[in-house]
Amino acid sequence: MIKTIAPTDRLIVAAPSKGRLQENALAFFSRAGCELSQGRGARDYRGLVLGVDAAEAAFLSASEITARLANGEAHLGVTGEDLVREEIADPATCVEILTPLGFGHANVVVAVPQAWIDVRTMADLADVAGGFRARHGRGLRVATKYVNTTRRFFAQHGIGDYRIVESSGATEGAPAAGTADVVVDITTTGATLNANALKTLDDGVILKSQANLVASLKAPWGEKAKKAAQVILSRIAAEEEARTTREIRTTLEDASDALLQEAESAFGARLRENKESGALAFSLAEKRAPQFCDWLLTKGAQTVTSAKFDYVFRAENPLWARLRGRIGG
């Protein structure tokens, strides 16, 4: 029983319907304090966004999510950049990529048989493609499901005489099966390519993709949908900032202005508290926290603590600001 999505003023959040991508996406929304609940049973493709009344979840395949974002049937969605670039003809006018989510990493690459030891770069491949028809009576065949991505990348490298063999599964097996000469495929570790006696060209990485939170610019953005998006994006931004920042506390007697300035310029550490007792609190990027703590010790600190926040809410939310800039409001 499929209900058509009426143009009521609800925010539709599209999330992957299966596999590790779904697990990661659900974990992401749950961390952000807006858990997606799938209706009764795993087969129901609609669900709720807990705590956000004006929003509902839709569980779909990644490629379907991309299509719905492009034509405005979903407001927000989790999908790979590879699909956004491949399946949407004019991404800049249809969608806004809000933020990378840190999972679903994969590269779209050009891979050729390992036996082609004379081919290591796209320039080599262009040369081979140029002479292929004269030698074999047909153009070079490229197996891929990334038809548009391939066409753009090959055109950039001056390769024109080739044929795409559309392939929706087991692309990497096409050269061994004799249905194609080279492939453009998505890979995480390159192991599958290796197992099929293929290698990635040195400059053959077309796109480093990962899962992204993507907003539709074509969806009906009513007041309630906007409000719901603002709530969700504010929680996502608060969780993201909390996850990526640390609060560093220490006590330093007579901390000079020069020292505080150096903390800011060398480590990006922002001062949050500076009490007369000499107690100091900074916040800074998680990655630089250890070095900063070491540095504080060299400046005479006896104890330095680092703590993680649950959420860092801010009046001005960069994700919502970006979306608002595109949809108005």
Partner: protein, 390 residues
């Protein structure tokens, strides 16, 4: 199944074209009929291929780049069919299917073609197959299509000529290393600057590649093949894909040859002079004859053909005082095998779109399935553009 998404920008363009077409439809129809009447009077038989065409043949012949310009469709949302994007290939296929071998036949056509980057456009033209008297047929096709353009209300036109056969003859006589010839042909087809094409190739390969190239400089083709086969065997790499070990070895040898000090000053100089030739057809042919004589290469047969064609054009009364022959005619020579031509309103720059274009494509029909070579030459008129220019 992938769902095709709307191409927003292209749709707008096509939409705008349709509005204009609505206003001008009667005018365009009148122009089309005038051109077709001229073709009929000259003995060309009307032939209209289907609007819906198999997509594969266009992608095979015109390259995968062309995919973005096709309106693709198919049963159940497939993409194996397309709206007719041009006439030459469907008419050639029709001629082959009729099974007359290489018997002479002359067709005219006229109607809509569809390109995703331009929407619907009206094209008319002629194709001539199987004429052994090539230069006469060349002159007739260009002459008749110019007459038809005038009948359809075109302003006075200036003709731009080139010759893919002359280019091929020149490359043959230069006796270039295969890798250099490929570089030149693909570079010129893409409209690249001669300086960049002739620059010594920058190698992406690291020291390992350089080592193999150095080793291969001392061996012949058979030795190179053994070396490559041994390398693959030692590394335990199984051969997959459409290239054999000897093909890989051959390309290594070519690359080694490329490394040896570029294309050479004499050849470079000759190539630069050849591609600088542009002018009135007679004067250009004279200049090329002189150039070939000095360089000691034989372009006699190819240049005789250029001259014969010019004479037949003059005999037909084609105005040649505004014609320009250029060795860098802006076309990929892959499709064409002989004369190439375009016509624009007098005084219009070569970067403006032509009102008429065409050429000889003797090798195309065999690649489309003909069992024998069929001499073929054709011309197309862009009927919608006639109104803009007039």
């Amino acid at each position: 199944m992938r769902r095709p998404l709307p191409l927003a920008k292209e749709r707008r363009k096509a939409g705008a074209g349709n509005v204009k077409q609505g206003m001008d439809r009667a005018k365009i129809q009148a122009r089309l009929e005038a051109a077709l009447a001229k073709f009929a009077a000259e003995g060309f038989e009307r032939y209209e291929p289907a609007l819906l065409q198999p997509a594969a043949v266009f992608l095979d012949r015109l390259g995968e780049d062309f995919r973005g310009r096709l309106y693709l469709t198919g049963e159940g949302g497939g993409s194996d069919l397309c709206l007719r994007p041009e006439y030459t290939i469907p008419i050639s296929l029709g001629y082959i299917a009729a099974g007359a071998g290489a018997a002479p036949a002359a067709f005219s056509y006229g109607g809509p073609i569809f390109r995703a980057d331009g929407g619907e456009a009206t094209q008319t033209g002629i194709e001539s197959f199987g004429r052994p008297d090539r230069t006469v047929a060349d002159a007739e096709i260009l002459g008749v299509s110019l007459d038809a353009a005038m009948a359809a209300g075109a302003p006075p036109l200036a003709v731009h000529l080139g010759d893919a056969g002359l280019l091929r003859a020149f490359f043959d006589r230069l006796e270039l290393a295969p890798a250099w010839r490929r570089r030149l042909e693909t570079g010129l087809a893409r409209g690249g600057a001669l300086d960049a094409i002739l620059a010594p190739p920058a190698r992406g390969n690291g020291a390992a590649g350089a080592g193999v190239l150095a080793a291969l400089e001392k061996v012949d083709a058979a030795g190179a093949k053994r070396l490559v086969e041994d390398l693959l065997a030692i590394a335990g790499i199984s051969a997959v894909g459409g290239r054999s070990a000897s093909e890989v070895a051959e390309r290594f040898l070519e690359q080694a040859a490329l490394q040896e000090g570029g294309i050479g000053d004499d050849k470079r100089n000759l190539i630069e002079r050849f591609f600088a030739v542009e002018g009135a057809p007679d004067a250009a042919a004279d200049e090329l004859r002189k150039l070939a004589g000095e360089a000691g290469i034989d372009l006699g047969a190819a240049l005789d053909e250029v001259d014969a064609r010019t004479n037949f054009l003059a005999a037909r009364g084609v105005a040649l005082e505004d014609a320009v022959f250029s060795t860098r005619f802006p076309h990929s020579i892959d499709y064409y095998s002989g004369v190439m031509f375009e016509a624009r309103p007098k005084g219009a720059g070569l970067d403006s779109p032509p009102l008429l274009s065409g050429g000889r494509y003797d090798t195309l029909l065999k690649t489309l399935g003909s069992t024998q070579d069929v001499p073929a030459v054709g011309a197309a008129l862009y009927v919608d553009r006639l109104g803009d220019a007039a």
